[in-house]
C-alpha cells in the first residue's frame, strides 16, 4: 500500500498521455457514426445553433479543437462564449448542428446519439465561481467522479489524486476543505478534479476573472503545461490579452453568436483583419 502510493504519483503522470490515447479508441461506442471529415480534431462542431426562446445565441457556428492546442476564446459580454462552451460540455442542448467528440458524432440536430455518455467524459470543465463542492474535502472532490462514474478502485483513485494535485502544485492540500483554500488554489483543485476524469479537452470559462493577475497567470500556466506536456486541448475564455498573445496557439473571437475569426494571436492583436475585430481589440487595450 505504502510502496505503491510512493511510486503511484509519478507513474500515473507518465502514464496519462498513453492511457488517454487508449481511452479514446476504446470508447468508440457501437451505433455512433464515425466522422470522416475533421479527422484530427478532438472536438468539432458543424452548423451549431442555440436558441433561448426566440433569441438566437449561437448562429450555425463551425469550429474545431485539435488535440493539445491552446485555444483562447474572446468576445464581448453576451456574445455567446459561455454558451459555446456549455454546448461542448453538454450543459446546453443545441437546436441544430452536429457535435463530434474524438471523431464520433454525439449530438445531431438537437439529439444525443449513442456514445454520448462515454464521449462527454473526455471533456472537462472549470467554472468561474462556486467551482468546488464546499462540503467535501479536496480529496473527496477529486474522488467522487472516479468512484461513482469510472468505478475505479480506491487505491487507484488515491494515487491518481496525488498525481493530479502534483500537477497543480497542491499535493499537500489533499485533506483541506475548499473554505480553507484561496481563490487561486480552488481553481487549481477544480482543474485537478477535471483531470481525474482523464479528459482530452479542458473547457475553462473565465476561471481567472476573480483572481489577482499574478495568481491568475499561475493558474493559466498550469493549463499551458497540460496542453504542452499532456496533449490536453484547452479552450479558455478569458479577457487576458497578455496571456492570449503569449500562450495561445489560436484565438477565436465570438461576436453576436458567430465566430468572427480564428487566427494566430500575434496576427489577431497586431493586425486585426476586420473592422469588428479591430474595434474589439482596441476596447480590450483600453481596459
Amino acid at each position: 500500500m505504502v510502496a505503491s502510493d510512493a511510486s503511484g504519483g509519478e507513474a500515473a503522470t507518465g502514464r496519462r498521455a498513453e492511457e488517454m490515447m487508449s481511452v479514446v479508441h476504446a470508447q468508440a461506442a457501437p451505433g455512433a457514426t464515425r466522422q470522416g471529415n475533421g479527422g484530427g480534431a478532438i472536438v468539432a462542431g458543424r452548423g451549431i445553433s442555440k436558441y433561448f426562446g426566440q433569441r438566437c445565441v449561437l448562429r450555425e457556428v463551425d469550429f474545431e479543437v485539435t488535440p493539445g492546442e491552446m485555444l483562447v476564446v474572446m468576445g464581448k459580454s453576451g456574445s455567446g462564449k459561455s454558451t459555446l462552451l456549455r454546448v461542448i460540455a453538454g450543459l446546453a442542448q443545441p437546436e441544430t448542428g452536429e457535435l463530434d467528440i474524438s471523431g464520433l458524432t454525439v449530438i445531431k440536430d438537437g439529439k444525443h446519439l449513442d456514445g454520448w455518455a462515454t464521449q462527454r467524459r473526455l471533456v472537462g470543465m472549470v467554472f468561474q465561481q462556486y467551482t468546488l463542492w464546499p462540503h467535501m474535502s479536496v480529496y473527496k472532490n477529486l474522488a467522487l467522479g472516479p468512484r461513482r462514474v469510472l468505478r475505479q478502485p480506491e487505491s487507484e483513485i488515491r494515487s491518481r489524486a496525488e498525481a493530479a494535485l502534483d500537477e497543480v502544485g497542491l499535493r499537500d492540500r489533499m485533506h483541506s476543505r475548499p473554505s480553507e483554500l484561496s481563490g487561486g488554489q480552488r481553481q487549481r483543485v477544480a482543474i485537478a478534479r477535471a483531470l481525474m476524469m482523464q479528459p482530452r479537452v479542458m473547457l475553462c470559462d473565465e476561471i481567472t476573472s476573480a483572481l489577482d493577475p499574478p495568481i491568475a497567470s499561475g493558474v493559466l500556466n498550469i493549463l499551458t503545461n497540460l496542453a504542452r506536456n499532456d496533449g490536453i486541448a484547452c479552450v479558455i475564455v478569458t479577457h487576458d490579452m497578455a496571456f492570449a498573445s503569449k500562450a495561445a496557439d489560436r484565438v477565436m473571437f465570438v461576436e453576436d453568436g458567430q465566430i468572427l475569426e480564428q487566427e494566430e494571436p500575434s496576427l489577431a492583436f497586431s493586425n486585426p483583419s476586420s473592422a469588428g475585430l479591430r474595434e474589439f481589440v482596441d476596447a480590450l487595450k483600453v481596459k
Binding site: 460540455a89 463542492w133 462540503h135 484561496s182 477535471a194
Partner: protein, 255 residues
C-alpha cells in the same frame, strides 16, 4: 389577587409519580424520534416533486404541502386517528396512527425547508457534477442533499423542536405520552399546578439546549459563509455538525 400566592404548593407529591412521568417522556421521545426520522427521509422526494417542472408531479406535491401547512395539527391528528381506519379498513394502534399524522405534517414543513436548501445550492455545483458525468441520483445524493441539509440545519432543528413540543397533542387521543401521564396523575391527585409545572420543566430541559445549539449554528453560519473566507478554522463547527442527530441521520449522504 392573592390566588397564586395563597396556593400551597406541595412538591412532595412529585417524586412518587416521577417514574410514571418518565415513562410518558419515553413515549414522547419515541414518537418524536420516529417522526423526525420518517419525515427527514420522505421530505426529500416530496421536495423534489414540489420542484419538478412536470405539472402532474409538482401539483400533487404542492397540494399535499399546502393542506398540511394550512390546517391545524390537532385536526390532522384526529382526522388520521379516526379516518384512516375507515379508509384503510384496518385498525391501527394509536401509536402508529399518531406517528403517521405527525410525520405527514412534519414532512410537509420539512419539504419546504429542503426546497429552500436545494434552491440555495449554486447551479455551478450541479453543473460540475454533470460534467463529471454523475448520474442524476448521485448528483442529488452527493451534491444537493448534503449542502441543502447543512444550509437548512437551523430551520430543520427548529422544526424538530416544535414537533417535540407539539407531540403533546397526542395525549388528546389517549396516547400515553408525557402530557397524558400528567393529565392522569393530576386527575388522581388534584395537584395540577405541581404536576404541569414539572411537565413543563421536563419539556423545557430537553427543548432549550436544542434551541441554544440551533442559535449557535445560525450565528456561525452568518459569521462565515462557507467558501467565502479562506483559512477559517473549522474544528468547532464541523464537530458540532457531527454531533447533531439530524446530521447523523443523513450520515450516508455525506459522501
Amino acid at each position: 389577587m392573592g390566588g397564586l400566592l395563597a396556593y400551597q404548593f406541595d412538591w412532595s407529591i412529585i417524586p412518587p409519580i416521577f417514574p410514571s412521568l418518565l415513562q410518558g417522556l419515553e413515549l414522547t421521545l419515541e414518537i418524536t424520534v420516529v417522526t423526525i426520522a420518517v419525515s427527514m427521509v420522505v421530505a426529500v422526494p416530496l421536495a423534489l416533486a414540489r420542484m419538478a417542472t412536470v405539472t402532474i408531479i409538482r401539483w400533487p406535491a404542492q397540494l399535499y404541502i399546502e393542506i398540511f401547512r394550512g390546517t391545524p395539527l390537532l385536526v390532522q391528528l384526529i382526522w388520521v386517528y379516526y379516518a384512516l381506519p375507515v379508509v384503510l379498513g384496518i385498525n391501527l394502534p394509536a401509536f402508529i396512527a399518531v406517528v403517521i399524522a405527525l410525520s405527514a405534517n412534519l414532512t410537509a414543513f420539512m419539504a419546504e425547508a429542503y426546497r429552500a436548501g436545494f434552491q440555495a445550492v449554486p447551479k455551478e455545483h450541479l453543473e460540475a457534477a454533470q460534467v463529471v458525468g454523475l448520474r442524476r441520483v448521485d448528483q442529488i445524493r452527493f451534491v444537493t442533499v448534503p449542502q441543502a441539509l447543512r444550509q437548512q440545519i437551523p430551520v430543520i432543528l427548529s422544526l424538530n423542536i416544535s414537533l417535540f413540543k407539539d407531540s403533546s397533542l397526542v395525549s388528546t387521543l389517549g396516547v400515553a405520552d408525557l402530557t397524558y401521564k400528567g393529565n392522569i396523575e393530576s386527575s388522581l391527585l388534584f395537584r395540577p399546578m405541581e404536576i404541569y409545572t414539572t411537565i413543563a420543566a421536563i419539556y423545557f430541559i430537553i427543548a432549550f439546549p436544542a434551541t441554544l445549539i440551533t442559535s449557535a449554528i445560525e450565528r456561525r453560519m452568518l459569521a462565515g459563509q462557507e467558501g467565502q473566507t479562506p483559512n477559517r478554522p473549522r474544528g468547532a463547527r464541523s464537530l458540532m455538525l457531527k454531533l447533531l442527530p439530524t446530521h447523523l441521520l443523513f450520515g450516508g449522504f455525506g459522501g
